[in-house]
Amino acid sequence: MNRRYTFWGVVILLAAFHLVILSAGFFSPYSYSEQHRDLPYAPPSRIHFIDSQGHFHVRPFVYGWKYDAHSPGSYVADLATPYPVHVFAFGSAYKIAGLIPSRIHLFGVDPPGSIFLMGTDGYGRDQFTRFLYGGQISLAAGLIAAALSLALGLVVGSIAGFYGGWLDNALMRGGDVFMALPWLYLLFAVRAALPLHVPQGQIFLLIVAVIGLIGWARPARLIRGVVLSAKERNFVLAARGFGASDFHLLRRHILPRTYNIVLTQMTLLIPQYILAEVTLSFLGLGIGQPLPSWGSLLSALQEYYVLASYWWMYLPAILLVPVFLAYSQIANALQELFSPVAL
């Protein structure tokens, strides 16, 4: 009983996270390409309630950053002017769910003050904003690519399992070829076959297609196994005896038995594919500037001085851990739930 609540708790948390990412425009104070050129690599803003005179404020406020006169290249808080944090502040224009134009952000401070919850990058762009917008790309890449892989796996697996014979042989040998390559090398080989410089709108589709297309072999094999055993079940044979068509048999009787595997594989594949996008973009073969993705946010860490001096640049990678944890919890729970069911 207790575990059931934990499971649904994790599901709800994960869904809420996806919702926040989806409405990145509302939750982020800036737009993802807005540059604060005078504040490169500014550390995360601290939220204060008590000012330098010791007075308590109900409305939280932040201080601006100014250059530290004693150590060049670093910042100190400018205690002279506090900037109160406004809720439902007006800011840059964005579109709710990509449709309804709006200028209202969940929080923000009046210029010339600025609020950077996760610091800024080398162009002075707000990392928190870029993390949320980057999540749109990375999460969508993971979800769509996983759906693509599973759809392909479902089609190939059910055809191979249902019809058997030479078709089964050919399809599964094809899968063997795909699985005889280390996964990342395969990903790179396919990426190498595609143009390097692609217009921004297309690069996302391209990356999703590459990641999704190469992963079909393993789910196909699992689904084939289920179909193979399901088609010999008595109720399937009976339906066939009544003259049901192949398509009807697959749709009504056989494919519903594969949904467990599809669901479990989905929760396993999504984080793996998010990571694939992150890896590609980190290495400069995926989503590039100025579009943010979790991988391209991390690619700044390839510079030694960023890696060694600006700890907040790690935050996007560290925030991935709870997301992956949630997915793996759900995958484990599903596996436990489905394993006693005789397939």
Partner: protein
């Protein structure tokens, strides 16, 4: 013998198929190495065409595939346009570096996984088991990239270990034993990183295989006979549990190679990883094909070794 022959034949066919598909895929890629030259107004279109003809790039696909196979037989695998040399000699030293790295990481992670897995299975539910399972489930959700970056950060901040590369700048001047020490120091960070990211899965499998065997009647009988616990664990239970672990060894090579690609780039290890990325960025497609082929040779060879080991260790497979 017949078994081995069949497996070898199967591997050969798969490699052939991979080479064909890799060739087909990458030859149909838009653009080539001379793209940058075409943009240059001082290079005439004729020159580019001549260069293409010189490298046989204007032949039909099948002719080029046959050419490539011929050059593969000589150990060349075509010509790298970026380096101006055959691909083969370019690959060997890098392949050796990658193999040394993944090999030592493999040994390290198995040497940690087996004792830890056996112990935590033997003391199921005890404190060691709980620490191990906490450790594995934490590590499993930390992205490889983050592990490598944090290790690099540690090296840069503390200066305990060199922060990249395979040798120090003054490597050529060192004595033999100093060279070995220098290499070992440079090995430590990437090998540790790879071992860390591959350990959790191995540990989990060793544990579950051992738990299953320890539950079986023959172990209970052995215990009843008063055979010492350590002898039961290592002499009776571990060999019985080794079957799935040998298959896992073959599978773990694939994950190890993929992880190695990332760690090599982050820690600038002169292996296949940086080479393939450079080759993709400069559209040096022969190198890409070479690296991809080599990686699949490693994987297939690893699986072959696992199959042979399984054949040797498990009499049931021999009878089949």
């Amino acid at each position: 013998m017949k078994f081995l022959g069949r497996r070898l034949l199967h591997s050969g066919v798969i490699l052939l198929a991979i080479s064909f598909f890799a060739f087909l895929l990458l030859r149909s890629a838009p653009g080539d190495y001379f793209d940058a030259m075409r943009m240059n107004p001082r290079v005439s279109a004729e020159t580019v065409e001549n260069l293409r003809a010189q490298y046989g790039m204007n032949h039909s696909f099948l002719v080029r595939y046959a050419d490539w196979m011929g050059s593969l037989a000589k150990g060349d695998m075509g010509i790298s346009l970026a380096y101006g040399t055959p691909v083969g000699p370019l690959l060997w030293p890098r392949a050796r570096n990658t193999l040394m790295l993944t090999g030592s990481a493999m040994i390290l992670s198995w040497m940690l996984a087996v004792p830890l897995g056996v112990w935590s299975a033997a003391a199921k539910g005890g404190w060691l088991d709980r620490i191990c399972s906490l450790f594995t489930s934490t590590l499993l959700v930390i992205p490889d990239l983050l592990v490598f970056l944090l290790l690099l950060l540690m090296a840069v901040r503390t200066g305990w270990l060199p922060s990249g590369g395979m040798t120090s700048g003054n490597f050529a001047d060192l004595a033999v034993w100093q060279k070995a020490g220098d290499l070992a120091l440079h090995f430590a960070l990437p090998a540790l990183g790879l071992a860390i990211v591959s350990l959790p899965l191995l540990l989990r499998h060793v544990r579950s295989a051992m738990v299953e065997v320890l539950d079986s009647p023959f172990i209970r009988a052995a215990r009843g006979h008063g055979i010492p616990r350590s002898r039961i664990l290592w002499r009776f239970a571990l060999p019985a549990a080794s079957n799935p672990l040998i298959s896992l060894f073959g599978l773990s090579i694939a994950t190890m190679l993929s992880a190695s690609l990332i760690v090599e780039v982050i820690l600038s290890w002169p292996g296949l990883g940086p080479l393939i990325i450079q080759a993709i960025l400069s559209r040096d497609l022969n190198v890409v094909i070479g690296v991809v082929m080599l990686s699949s040779v490693f994987l297939i060879a690893g699986n072959l070794i696992a199959d042979v080991l399984l054949f040797v260790s498990d009499p049931r497979i021999r009878v089949e």
